[in-house]
């Protein structure tokens, strides 16, 4: 924030040696406040903010890339404790980053408020007195004319008023000023920034963001326990979730098949869903990648997809001990996917299956399977089999904790792993454990559900901020003077202008005004002679 451009304090430096007076606590506080709200400090804080934002782009952040954090920690074990102390995985909510921008905003407020009062005063004040020597101003020209001084001044006033200058007559001169909107815009811009910050802060408390994987045919009900993961703001309560249900009817995916340079790249995802809200009829809706679904105060985004296998596990007697749709997490662009089946009700030992789903399976020269196209052209599901204890406590559906388990099938054991395909859907588990059946393969949609009531506020303040920015940068503020001196019947006309802030068109403005004035006077009383300056 700069000092107001019409403040008079600048430019006068006292050459006398400075005596340092003794400062009491109040004086020290005032001194510190002056320092903090000075332009130089604001500038340094801005640069500090820019530098402080850099580490967050070099080190993965918990908020944007949690998996990246895990792998960074794994490969930089020696630095993890230091990084944790410095909050390097949460740079943008860290104490030091927050300190910088809070200081910046305090400095901003401390600067805006006095400027606001100054500007309010300036808005009501008349333009300043005409300087004694106009020739010293950055833009200046003279002309001569005949006739009545009062008429020349009145004509000048009329022209300036038409150019929307504010006017004040001082004797035989007119003082004019325009572009007050420049400072207004500046103040609006900075106030708007504060508004954005506050809405983000306060609004953040009311937000929640949840993720849920929904396989084709499944229904998501908007309840807290229905989310796979959910993070909530501090004002989140039980009543924050509005009741609704979304059923995924189908997820259609199109892949590029003709352009060899982009073979297999996805070109469209379309999720057909049926939504149900209390007291309303079910509605058919569509969710696409750039087209979220708005429902019940939330936006529902389609952010991921993959395959899910419908599986049934029976024990040796033929009793169903597991039946369900198991999502497989994609591992590469051709959707080789990893999935886990946990059969807690198997006895005497619990049963765990870990395996891959290959949508278009091909056998590599090494003998291993791989997928070479993301669509379901030749799907194969393989499993390694574990027995033992699945462990207690919260379970991650994508990983199998094998610490309490023994592998009984699949490499590196000698027993061959399980292999299933639509053409050959049943496999016998080793050691008389029973059978696994592949009932089908469908797609799942990874839905992100967001609720952010502050969006409108943030958006509104951003619009105000931008309007202020453009006004403050592009509207020139300038003062213009016209002085008329009657020298024995010859009128000496002086035109001068001073820019308040950057003004590329200052000289042109004076020239245009002088020329228009000349023409207006000429039209009234005949030709006007012009002479070079200084004559």
């Amino acid at each position: 924030m700069s000092r107001p451009s019409d403040a008079f304090e600048s430019g006068f430096e006292d050459p006398r040696p400075v005596e340092n007076p003794r400062l009491g606590p109040l004086e020290w506080a005032r001194w510190a406040w002056r320092q903090l709200t000075s332009m130089r400090t604001a500038l340094l804080l801005l640069l500090a903010l820019a530098i402080a934002a850099v580490p967050g782009s070099l080190i993965p952040q918990e908020s944007a890339d949690p998996n990246g954090v895990i792998s960074w920690k794994a490969s930089n074990a020696a630095f993890v404790s230091i990084a944790d102390v410095l909050q390097l995985f949460d740079v943008y909510t860290s104490a030091w980053f927050s300190a910088i921008y809070l200081l910046l905003f305090v400095s901003l407020v401390g600067c805006v408020v006095p400027r606001l009062f100054h500007h309010l005063k300036a808005l009501r004040a008349a333009p300043p007195r005409t300087p004694a020597r106009l020739g010293r101003l950055p833009a200046y020209r003279t002309a001569e004319s005949e006739g009545d001084a009062e008429h020349a001044l009145a004509t000048g006033e009329r022209l300036l008023r038409r150019r929307r200058y504010r006017l004040q007559r001082y004797g035989s001169s007119v003082s004019a000023e325009r572009g007050y909107l420049r400072e207004t815009g500046n103040l609006v811009f900075h106030t708007g920034l504060v508004g954005v910050l506050i809405s983000v802060f306060v609004g953040g408390g009311f937000t929640y963001t949840g993720q849920r994987i929904v396989a084709t045919g499944q229904t998501f009900v908007n309840e807290q326990q229905a989310y796979d993961t959910i993070s909530t703001g501090r004002f989140f309560g039980d009543s924050s979730l509005q009741p609704y249900a979304i059923t995924l009817n189908s997820l259609a995916v199109k892949y590029e098949t003709r352009n060899l340079a982009a073979l297999g790249e996805p070109i469209d995802y379309t999720a057909d869903v049926t939504t149900q809200q209390p007291g309303q009829k079910p509605q058919k809706r569509v969710i696409k990648v750039n087209e979220p679904l708005s429902i019940g105060g939330t936006d529902v985004y389609l952010l991921g997809n993959g395959y899910a296998a419908k599986l049934t596990v029976r024990d040796a007697k033929g009793k169903v001990i597991f039946g369900g749709t198991v999502p497989f997490r994609p591992q590469d662009n051709d959707l080789t996917s990893l999935g886990v089946v946990k059969v807690g009700s198997a006895s005497p030992k619990q049963l765990g299956l870990v395996g891959f789903l290959y949508p278009t399976a091909v056998r590599q020269t090494t003998g291993a399977l791989a997928s070479n196209f993301p669509d379901l052209l030749n799907p194969i599901v393989t499993f390694s089999v574990y027995t033992g204890s699945l462990g207690s406590g919260p379970q991650n559906v994508y990983t199998l904790d094998t610490t309490g388990m023994t592998q009984v099938a699949g490499p590196p054991t000698k027993t061959k792993g399980i292999q299933l395909s639509p053409a050959d859907p049943v496999a016998i588990l080793p050691d008389g454990l029973g059978t696994v059946r592949l009932d089908g393969i469908t797609r799942f949609a990874a839905l992100d559900i967001h609720h952010d009531p502050s969006q409108g506020w943030v958006g509104g303040f951003v619009v105000i901020t931008v309007a202020g920015l453009i006004t403050s940068l592009l509207i020139p503020r300038r003062r213009m003077w016209l002085k008329v001196t009657d020298e024995d019947g010859v009128l000496r006309l002086e035109y001068a202008a001073l820019a308040r802030g950057d003004d590329p068109a200052l000289e042109r403005a004076v020239a245009d005004f002088a020329e228009e004035h000349r023409q207006a006077l000429e039209a009234d009383r005949g030709p006007v002679e012009r002479v070079p300056a200084g004559v």
């Binding site: 908020s63 352009n259 340079a261 696409k288 990648v289 920015l469 940068l473 300056a533």
Partner: protein, 337 residues
């Protein structure tokens, strides 16, 4: 898959680069001429220093306009500028090159059946097109021919990197980019980048000019870089750089906002500190600092000039390094990792 249209686009682009190279040489020749011209002017001035003021006054009277007192150094250049054959040749070649460049860009767009800025190759191609376009447009208002060598040189390097390092065949848009915000957000970013480029180039010359002015002011007469005598003063250059940067800053603000709105549509949040968002923010803050530096005592002049260059460095880093090497959601370089 290389379609015939894309092949033609490449051919046009390479021809444009050839012409830019010719323009670069011609601009460089012009700079060399300026050097000897400045010497001649200095000699002339020395030989008839007494008559100089009188002749200036005469020319002003003959102009028939009311004069300015303390007229600022003119950017319209000294009266000899009209004789600058090399610069005129350079401009003509540059203009023809730009038309071919435009053709290359349009054909690429037609070949891909979408806007030609969906990956880094296309962004570079369109970005440099806009840089040269804005430079040519600016030339109709201010004489910035002294910048020609810097601009053509920079554009050549950028296009060289783009064709060798970023070149990818036409491929369909991934679902995440299928949005009209691709048209708005990215195009505004390109425009902003182009204005920052021009502003940065002026600031670079400003810093060199300021150094020369300091040397001259210190009384050392050895003016080694004579061509700078034909270039506006550092204060004047700073003003030009500032005005161009203002436009860039406003456009960059729109880039940031349009990006946030698009992110809200595509990813479910308007701001998430993705690496690219971080760098867009850093650039915005640096340029905000630059605008403030102009109003801070001790930072005007060289300080603000350096800040402008640091800001531009961040722009280049954001494009060339963050896109390719940083992990994030803005993975659209089209290069396989």
């Amino acid at each position: 898959m290389t379609t015939p249209l894309d092949q033609l686009s490449v051919l046009l682009l390479l021809s444009a680069m050839g012409l830019y190279a010719v323009a670069f040489v011609a601009f460089a020749l012009d700079l060399a001429r300026r050097s000897s011209e400045a010497q001649a002017m200095a000699d002339e001035a020395a030989s008839r220093s007494a008559g100089a003021t009188a002749s200036a006054a005469v020319s002003e009277v003959r102009g028939g306009v009311a004069t300015l007192v303390a007229a600022p150094p003119s950017v319209d250049g000294p009266p000899r500028s009209n004789r600058r054959t090399a610069a005129r040749v350079a401009l003509a070649v540059l203009t023809v090159g730009w038309v071919l460049h435009l053709g290359a860009d349009v054909l690429r767009g037609i070949a891909a059946a979408r806007v030609p800025w969906a990956n880094m190759y296309e962004f570079s191609m369109t970005g440099t097109l806009i840089i040269v376009g804005i430079y040519l447009l600016a030339l109709t208002r201010v004489d910035l021919r002294f910048l020609g060598a810097v601009i053509t040189g920079l554009v050549l390097v950028l296009l060289g990197i783009a064709t060798v390092g970023f070149r990818v065949a036409v491929s369909p848009l991934p679902p995440a980019l299928q949005s009209y915000w691709l048209v708005i957000h990215v195009f505004v970013a390109i425009l902003g980048t182009a204005f920052f480029t021009l502003s940065g180039a002026v600031s670079a010359v400003q810093l060199v000019q300021a150094r020369r002015e300091r040397v001259l002011a210190a009384g050392r007469t050895a003016d080694r870089v004579k061509l700078l005598a034909t270039v506006p003063t550092s204060t004047r250059l700073e003003n030009i750089a500032y005005r161009v940067a203002i436009v860039g800053f406003i456009l960059w603000t729109f880039t940031l906002i349009a990006g946030a709105i698009w992110a809200n549509h595509a990813w479910g949040r308007y701001w998430g500190w993705d690496t690219k968002e971080v760098w867009t923010f850093i650039i915005w803050v640096i340029y905000a600092g630059y605008l403030h530096a102009r109003a801070t005592r001790g930072w005007r002049g060289n300080g603000s000039g350096w800040l402008n260059l640091i800001g531009y460095g961040a722009v280049l880093f954001n494009f060339g390094v963050v896109n390719v090497f940083f992990h994030g959601l803005h993975a659209y370089s089209g290069l396989s990792s």
